[in-house]
Symmetry: D2
Subunit: 333 residues, 4 copies
């Protein structure tokens, strides 16, 4: 009784998800693929999977129970709406969409449908370290969380391809989503502060400091450094009324040698989050098999879009940019 999945987008991310859907995870079968580049879709398609030249046909095909969207961000809106129209559970890679308008359309469609169908690819929520951190906060032994210090360090970004907006509308969204989730909160306003520039990125505006003002009054500060060379280093520390809870070091061998007593740091995001990606799909498969979706919702995708937009306004204005949200539909409570 495998979940029969159609994958839209067979680029790097799509290939990685196809790999985990075919070789790693249970109860699932990739039966259909589509890509703007038909040759690539054909090359990537697992054995037995049909290559669809039409996204619409793939989505509506009787052979497809659920859909995975790994296409170009601008294409997500249309594809999501089509999935909802077809009543099919859909996993959508970030960004869910690339404008507030698109997000509102997706929300409206899903609310009209009356059941959750969309899970957005904010994989950190499925990371064991983050889950343990949330459990500690939710346990309440440390009191109310008041501040969250998030650190997002990347060894390097491809020059030219990675532009100065991307720390705010691409990289930041993970820290924003995880802040909302860890603190069970919403982001009411964004401030951006730009320190002296790292010389490693040429003209790239890097690093960046972002302040997320939460609805509860808690404040999140995010350090985003995208060219810091030494590794892919994700840190988080919640400062509560009675104590502090933080992510641990990654479990590397403790070596004592001429460099001291040390542990390796992940080199890239794949190394750091591979299990989280597996787990977000593991849970998606279970929900989709029941005809619905759990995990990060279209509301979370909407919140991410609003935050990215506010951050882009804030870095220009230097001001505290408020976020205006619609009322949260019951479907997402």
């Amino acid at each position: 009784m495998s979940l029969r999945v159609g994958v839209i987008g067979t680029g790097m991310i799509g290939q990685d998800h196809i790999r985990r859907l075919t070789k790693v995870l249970q109860g699932v079968e990739v039966v259909a693929v589509n890509d703007i580049d038909e040759n690539r879709a054909t090359a990537i398609a697992p054995e037995g999977a049909k290559v669809f030249t039409s996204v619409k046909e793939l989505i509506h095909s009787e052979t497809v129970d659920a859909v995975v969207i790994c296409s170009w961000g601008a294409a997500h809106e249309e594809q999501l709406l089509e999935c909802i129209a077809a009543g099919k559970p859909v996993f959508c890679e970030k960004p869910m969409v690339i404008s507030e308008e698109s997000a509102l359309k997706v929300l409206a469609a899903e609310v009209a449908y009356g059941k959750r169908l969309v899970q957005v690819g904010f994989m950190r929520r499925f990371d064991a370290d983050y889950r343990r951190l949330k459990a500690v906060i939710d346990g309440g032994t440390l009191g109310t969380p008041l501040m969250y210090h998030s650190t997002h360090r990347n060894p390097s970004v491809p020059e030219g391809l990675y532009t100065s907006d991307m720390p705010l509308n691409d990289t930041l969204v993970h820290d924003a989503d995880i802040s909302r989730w860890l603190l069970s909160d919403e982001i009411d306003a964004v401030e951006v502060r730009v320190p002296r520039r790292s010389t490693r990125g040429g003209e790239l505006r890097d690093p960046t400091i972002v302040l997320l003002h939460m609805a509860s009054g808690a404040i999140v500060d995010v350090e985003i450094s995208v060219n810091i060379a030494y590794g892919y280093d994700i840190r988080g520390e919640v400062s509560c009324e009675l104590g502090v809870a933080a992510l641990p070091n990654r479990p590397a061998t403790v070596i004592s040698d001429q460099h001291g007593i040390r542990q390796a740091i992940p080199e890239d995001w794949r190394e750091r989050f591979i299990e989280a990606y597996d787990q977000e799909f593991r849970e998606w498969i279970a929900a989709a098999s029941a005809g619905t979706a759990t995990g990060p919702s279209a509301w979370d995708g909407y919140a991410a879009t609003l935050t990215a937009d506010a951050a882009l306004r804030a870095v220009t204005s230097g001001q505290r940019e408020p976020i205006k949200r619609i009322s949260k539909p019951d479907l997402y409570n």
Copy 2:
């Protein structure tokens, strides 16, 4: 093309393995079960699996591609020999067998068969932390390993059920196997030293210190404390010519509160090694699907039996007890 598996023994361990084979892992299907207690076998059997009253019938059934042995240790020898006779890959929980004589029979049978069929359940070899540790040692940057300090701490053992021999013939075998594997070495002799007793175990001889004298000259010291209350704490540190490599803390949230800055320690062996159990089966499924076996072999099961026997002699004699091994058959190189 799932591997069709028959499971012998549906007690606690057997149930846990059936769970991972049906709910966690890919490419496998439990089609047959057997247990001395037929009612329990029937209750545990997954949907669609047939309950075999005869172990022999299960093993030789055409519907069974490979076998998992989780029965009482004394029954392993016969069941392993039957699997080899049937030419079927078999995963056998520790202890592979319970006597040197039995081990030699299994080795002879498998060698005669001419291909590896047996994988023994020494799951630590599949633990990510241990694998990273071995990679560091094998990488050679720290020079030759000279000493290995292994620590095996258990919060408690069931009074009465766990006897004074068990630290040496049950608990020790994991440290012995991992020492041989980490150091790519054999155990030539065993010494046992008994410190003052922990009052937490009544008459139980606990803790114990074991010295494993490796063929290379390296020495392994093992602390075995089975009633240490605070947690299930497995440690390992390899002291080489140029440096040291050790297992890290488990990745728990770093909490700062009235107890200090701290990380939780696993409560039991399941919590600590659940991924290793999944991984050992993941790799067994792959090998068995190809009609063979990889991972810990019958030779490793034989070595474990010899080590346990030598340890039991050593704790009584107070002497250094040598281990006499047969020549290692080519099949295991």
Copy 3:
């Protein structure tokens, strides 16, 4: 050839300094004391020390080589000017003074004198952990420092006595001074953000987040939590172009018990900084014996005052409050 020291102010801080000057440190002798409360001065005065009823007389006494000021902040200006007039080296506890105007007078007097005489009590600069951290930054292997994350957590503050201004004009000054020193930089502007309040302090505005905008463009963020219960926890992490350097845990025994694997956190500032206090005086004694001063200067005291004032403006205005400094006199380069 002991340095003969006169101490002004024999309250808690003064007593502690007298203790270290008489029992811990070398080459120094407390020969004179003064306090507004003459009885207390008499009770505290070490054997052989003379109690002066007049601060002026103490400062100008031929028996006094150097002066230690531990009096009420408002009294510091006059006492410092008197020491400079007398040409005597003087250690002055923080705050050096309590207004910008007073700071400018002290600077002018010392510059006119032509030699440094004033050392201000910013003891963190003498802490071994902070010194090692600065050495790493100054070593340049991590590239230019771009951000500094400072954390100042206090278990509790005396209700009523500790008011909502004090995180900014009392607690913050240490983080401000250490930022200037670690980054070899000046503070150009201050922003203050107020998260949701901790319920542990009643009406006290706590915690607070302060952003220090450095002249170089580096940004320092400071978390100040004064009632966080669990301990006195001082943290600092410098994020540079190529890596990160941070203060370590304090060297407590690593205990593994029912609370996990843990290290104790200091209970208060004395426990945390006692060696730093000893060291700042050790070096003051050496400099004062040579008729001058080293370490934190009147310029640093001035900068601290400006920062505190800017922080108080910022918490009210919600704006980025610039700091206007006079040109730095050569004396302080």
Copy 4:
């Protein structure tokens, strides 16, 4: 009222102690020096100190209140007996003496004197980390200590000068003394095990494993690696009935760079124990000023000698070598 000290032996250790007695510590004055090499004594002698050509004259001089012995080990016995005869408190560097016979003479003399005069230079007892560790054990929260794992790693030893006996009769004594002190116990027997040799020391027998069988039944295992290159790394972990207590990492800056997240390890014993040396003298000065001695006693020096002798017998015999002690005189209780 300074303690007037005479120092016998102005080699490297003697010079270091003279440095701390003149520049670091309070309440003490070096008034006399002696060395076999009179020129060296003259060169090293602090200002105002008299160079004595005769050890006996120095010891008995009215200008000398207390004596520090840093001479060649073989000379200690005579010098200690002379100090006791003169009724003068004496700090004696390790080894207290170099034979059991000598130790018995010193004990007899001090016992006859009726008051403690001798403090032996086992500085680890004054190290803050070890003191915290002992406090945890003595506090009893972890139950009775059953095993102690001691690690003594040295980056290198001077080839030729450092011989194969020295791990056992020189290096080991610190671990032996600290074991007796931490566990409040005596060593009843010694076993030595020799792993495969490190290639870094040529013919040097290194590393070594020593088992100390304590009177209580607790067992101490000591890893001694004298050429391990990476640093001077001293570790200790006490395994008790209910938990474990261990020495922490040394407080180095936590650096995150291309080598991982790391802390430096001390390069040599001076770096590691400099504060302990200061503290052992600080306390010696206080005791000697009261005409007596505290800290490690002649009994502890005797125990160290017995342990070293037993270890040398054990490495040759391969047997468990018992230690025969005289009854402990009341003076040392």
